[in-house]
């Protein structure tokens, strides 16, 4: 009887579960692969961007177990069993309706070229899950690791604050 031993890791991304074979074969994932490459190249989730590839620009940010992390500085091997949300997973899975935070960026012209926007939204999303009513200063600090080169970070912060305001009103 032939026995095949395979190393497989499992990640839960945007509500789906993926088993990823690990190894040096053609379709296998090398152990040194970063999460940013796994998500973009294997899972086709190209919403996150690889900017600096050094963890400095924040464009590759995803939410892992509730925390915003730079996926370019995370090895996929460290994500076995973890739950990950990317920008593609924010909208309502049934209706396709955008998340309120995404909508706020649309409504407030929160981006220009859009390269950094997925990272900013994911960082803000993780932050707002833990902070009900942040001040603008706190939002700025939370977004300190996300860089916008168009200079649209002002409207990005405005968009987040508009969403905070709207969420507060809705909850009252």
């Amino acid at each position: 009887m032939k026995e095949i031993v395979r190393k497989v890791i499992t990640i839960h991304v945007n509500g789906k579960t993926y088993d990823i074979p690990v190894g040096t074969g053609r379709y296998e994932m090398p152990e040194s692969e970063t999460l940013s490459h796994t998500l973009r190249d294997r899972l086709g989730l190209t919403g996150l961007k690889i900017g600096c590839d050094q963890g400095a620009c924040g464009c590759c940010t995803v939410i892992m177990d509730g925390k915003a992390v730079t996926s370019c500085m995370t090895l996929t091997m460290d994500c076995d069993g973890k739950t990950i949300t990317t920008i593609e997973g924010l909208a309502d899975r049934a209706t396709g309706e955008l998340d309120g935070l995404q909508q706020a960026f649309l409504d407030n012209c929160g981006y220009q070229c859009g390269f950094c926007t997925p990272g900013i939204i994911m960082t803000a999303k993780a932050f707002l899950e833990e902070h009900e009513n942040p001040t603008e200063e706190e939002v700025r600090e939370a977004l300190a690791g996300n860089y916008c080169r168009c200079g649209t970070h002002y409207t990005a912060v405005e968009s987040v604050m508009a969403y905070v305001q709207k969420r507060k009103e809705e909850r009252q």
Partner: protein, 788 residues
């Protein structure tokens, strides 16, 4: 990014074992390591990355009796948000929160932050943009920050992270930058002792050495190499002037007898180090005077004989016995000597003439023999038209000596082109200055004879000396010839060792006509050692000296004794933590020049090159960069933990802050192979202490400190009772301001004392061209830290 294997060990023991393997790298959060691997900064990319995050011993953030225990795998986000830390160690929470960005802090660990690599832009320069910068911290030896862009670099000197190139190029590995540093500090005697660790005769080497060290000098990249030779000569002459201090007889005899055959530089060096240790040393020399090539081959205008004699008399005063005019094989046999000694060293040199099979060769003269005769005061003009065959230093000595003895026409002929002649550049220059013709690219073909007398020589053209692999394999054009008229032809195209004295009595193997030297200058016969030219073929004096020391160490080991005194001195010599230099060194573009006699003033016995005044020697020492890495330590938490005197617990021991942060400039130097930082224990601050972490940076996030102050102080009625202060980003290590601390202790904290403390803290700063502002800024930060 180059692929690597990723292992997650389950136990600390397993992790330690994995990390001890070659090609393994430890990973905490990975936010530094992955960047380092992506940019290709490591000498070789790791084969295996060992994940330390899952080890239970490395997790946990708990308050205990002795303080806060922080696991190495605890993230910086956890530390900065933990309520206990915020309440009782708020400055540590601030330091952790000042690192990188919120998202990176979610992954980055404390252990990783402490062990991270430096952040210098030369070091971090990505290899994909025009190739990597091989700085001192990589495989190179030059820190570009010294003369380049250095606004964020150290203001307290450099870290000695590699062997300085001058030392590396020296066959004896003389610690040149160390003696220059001591000389700058006015410690002449200590500086001299640094040289004596590897070379007992700097007065001699400074005059005759090829000074490979100067080829290596990093200043060559910018202006002119340090004139190491001139400084060395000052120290060498100083040693001979005070030989009773530096070359003392041993305090006691150890009763062992060593015989050295040959008194060249290797034999004399071995004699010096062995005698120092209490051995009874006897040197046998076939010539009437000791010194070998120093006395008989090198002409007095380069090396005055009184310098050699002075050194040899100092050796004799130490108790070394020298038996001259004793030819082994004739006056005494090797067998007799071996039987009467505990160990024997052979330094018989290369004094025999090689024959190349030239027609009429028997009518030519061996250049070395001519030099020996001249050194024996046979000062006759050898002829009126002299042709010297050869292009090395011996050929130069022969030609210049002949010229100075009054030969009107001296021509040199060698195979090599002018720029690749084996002789030193300054020797070539000296020969040309004195009117010697040099014909490059010609090889000897035939001696022209008339009535059994030499009348000239025919040369054939040699367009190529080395083959593709760089080996000596000259190509000749037999038809392209040149004839030079001559009444004497001197051959200086090599020397052979005369090994007849071995008589086959001992099993001493030879190789290509030389004694085969194994590691540690051993021969194939136990107890017999060999060094110098007889093992290497004609080489430099300094190379012979290096082998002499090596032989001395081996003889001592063979005799079963503990290390030689010189080994102990070298091992115990204190090294400054950070390499200091003179801030003016950048601007001093020109090296000091030793005075040289004008061509018409030169003769056989006057030394051509003069010495420089002591203050000039010190001035030249000021030009030394004292090369090292000028990058600053990038860790924020290290500054704060050092200030709070935290203990670093590894899987093997507990390391103090002082040792972990304050002394070593690389983690690899503190931690042994397979050693892992487990946790950090932060003690409680004294009750009522104020602790702060202030970090100045250009951007609010993802930026390293331009300057940081970490510490705490406690006042009682306005008087400082406890104080601890660390400056970050000012040096390759966090700097604890001990002098300022002791100044402040017991003083009333006022604006004035705060100002004075800041002055004291920065008084030893040595700014680079662009970072002088850091000194002023740091003073302000120290004052602000103290509340003023």
């Amino acid at each position: 990014m180059k692929n690597f294997g990723y292992v997650t060990p389950k136990t600390l023991e397993e992790a330690s074992g994995l990390l001890a393997q070659p090609g393994a790298a430890a990973m905490g959060g990975g936010t530094d390591l992955l960047g380092v691997i992506k940019d290709g900064l490591l000498p070789s990319p790791p084969k295996t990355v060992v994940n330390l995050k899952k080890l239970p011993e490395l997790s946990g953030l708990t308050e205990r009796e002795d303080g806060l225990h922080v696991g190495a795998a605890v993230t910086l986000a956890e530390i900065s948000e933990n309520e206990t830390v915020k309440a009782k160690w708020p400055a540590l929470a601030d330091a952790a929160r000042s690192v990188a960005t919120p998202n990176l802090r979610n992954t980055a660990t404390l252990g990783g932050n402490l062990c991270q690599d430096i952040r210098c832009w030369y070091y971090r320069y990505p290899d994909i943009l025009g190739g990597r910068i091989n700085c001192a911290r990589k495989e190179g030896h030059l820190c570009s920050a010294m003369m380049g862009e250095n606004r964020y670099h150290s203001i307290f000197g450099a870290a000695k992270v590699c062997e300085t190139p001058c030392t590396g190029k020296c066959p004896a590995h003389t610690d040149i930058s160390a003696y220059m540093e001591l000389l700058r500090a006015g410690k002449v005697e200590e500086a001299a002792r640094v040289i004596l660790e590897v070379n007992p005769m700097p007065a001699i080497t400074s005059r005759v050495c090829a000074h490979f060290c100067m080829e290596g000098c990093n200043r060559n990249t910018y202006d002119e190499s340090l004139n190491v030779g001139a400084v060395e000569r000052y120290l060498g002459d100083y040693i001979l002037e005070h030989k009773d201090v530096f070359m003392k007889a041993p305090e006691g005899e150890n009763g062992l007898k060593i015989s050295i055959i040959g008194s060249g530089p290797a034999g004399l060096t071995a004699a010096y180090y062995l005698r120092q240790s209490g051995y009874g040393v006897t040197i046998y020399e076939k010539q009437p005077e000791a010194g070998g090539c120093l006395t008989y081959a090198i002409p007095p205008y380069r090396l005055p004989k009184n310098v050699v004699r002075s050194f040899i008399s100092a050796l004799e005063a130490m108790g070394v016995k020298i038996v001259c005019s004793c030819q082994i094989g004739q006056d005494k046999t090797l067998d007799e000597i071996v039987k009467a000694s505990d160990s024997v060293m052979l330094d018989t040199g290369t004094w025999k003439r090689p024959l190349i099979g030239l027609a009429g060769e028997e009518l030519t003269r061996f250049g070395l023999e001519f030099l020996i005769d001249v050194n024996n005061y046979v000062r006759e003009r050898p002829g009126s038209r002299v042709v010297v065959v050869g292009g090395g230093n011996v050929a130069m000595d022969v030609a210049i000596t002949a010229k100075r003895l009054g030969c009107p026409e001296v021509a040199m002929v060698c195979l090599e082109q002018r720029d690749s002649m084996p002789a030193n550049e300054e020797e070539v220059a000296r020969a040309l200055e004195e009117g010697i013709l040099i014909h490059n690219g010609w090889g000897p073909k035939e001696v022209v004879r008339t009535d059994g007398k030499v009348t000239g020589m025919v040369f054939k053209h040699c367009p190529k000396v080395l083959d593709e692999t760089g080996r000596f394999n000259p190509v000749y054009e037999e038809d392209n010839v040149m004839e030079l008229q001559a009444d004497i032809i001197m051959m200086a195209i090599g020397q052979k060792a005369d090994l007849d004295f071995l008589e086959g009595a001992y099993k001493i193997e030879t190789e290509r006509g030389r004694i085969k030297a194994l590691d540690g200058c051993r021969t194939t016969e136990a107890g017999i050692f060999a060094g110098g030219d007889v093992t290497t073929g004609p080489a430099t004096v300094i190379k012979a000296i290096a082998s002499g020391k090596e032989a001395a160490i081996s003889v001592n080991q063979y005799c079963g004794l503990k290390e030689l005194p010189v080994e102990k001195t070298a091992r115990l010599r204190l090294h400054e933590k950070l390499a200091a230099f003179d801030t003016r060194c950048r601007g001093e573009k020109e090296a000091v020049k030793s005075p040289m006699l004008e061509v018409h003033e030169r003769d056989m016995d006057k030394e051509d090159l003069g010495c420089i005044a002591p203050e000039l020697a010190k001035g030249e020492a000021n030009r030394c960069f004292n090369c090292g890495c000028l990058a600053v330590n990038p860790s924020d938490t290290a500054n704060m933990l050092y200030a709070m005197d935290a203990k670093i617990v590894t899987n093997r021991r507990t390391i103090s802050s002082e040792e972990f942060f304050g002394i070593h400039t690389r983690v690899q130097e503190v931690l042994e192979k397979g050693e892992i930082v487990k946790e950090v224990i932060v003690p409680y601050l004294p009750k009522g202490a104020v602790a702060r972490y202030d970090k100045y940076r250009i951007r609010k996030s993802i930026d390293f400190a331009v300057l940081a102050v970490a510490g705490y102080y406690r006042l009682e009625d306005g008087v400082v009772k406890d104080v601890s202060m660390v400056l970050g980003a000012v040096a390759p290590v966090p700097m604890k301001m001990k002098e300022a601390e002791s100044y402040l202790t017991g003083k009333k904290l006022t604006e004035e004392t705060a100002r004075e403390a800041a002055e004291i803290a920065l008084k030893d700063a040595i700014p680079l061209a662009m970072n002088g502002y850091k000194i002023d800024m740091a003073k302000v930060m120290v004052r602000r830290f103290l509340g003023f």
